[in-house]
Symmetry: C2
Subunit: 82 residues, 2 copies
């Protein structure tokens, strides 16, 4: 059993969003992304064999893709199809 | 793409922890558990083909199993082996 304290483990970088791989197995991959104010990830696609679930823990932002925007705030869960 | 607002969707019950299946596919199943103060889930095992990841969003509690206890608070992530 693995236990993480995400707020304590959070790392930030002034250069770009800080991406960290916490767990990786054939069935489950867990990553964290930490953003300084104003940082963003460009619109991108995932090359995954399964759905990608994204959960906002702290802060506020915007999901964007094409013409649509969706608010991202604590407890927002986005599930992208495989 | 599916978008959930977990705090807004949270349901509670005075009878027992409120379990809700948000998403289910061959590769990903997402459930929420909402606890009223004092409610608990008994020690149990999972019959899953993959790891089970559990993330605390709000509130405080304790993970227990056997002789050990671990604090559960916002941002605590527990990953149980398959």
């Amino acid at each position: 059993m693995k236990l993480f304290n995400l707020p304590e483990a959070a790392k930030f970088s002034t250069d770009k969003p800080c991406r960290e791989l916490l767990f990786d197995s054939p069935n489950l991959r867990v990553l964290t992304f930490n953003f300084e104010p104003g940082q963003e990830l460009p619109v991108h696609s995932h090359n995954a064999d399964s759905e990608v679930a994204l959960l906002i823990l702290e802060g506020e932002g915007v999901f964007t893709g094409g013409a649509e925007e969706f608010p991202a705030k604590p407890g927002t869960l986005q599930i992208m199809p495989s």
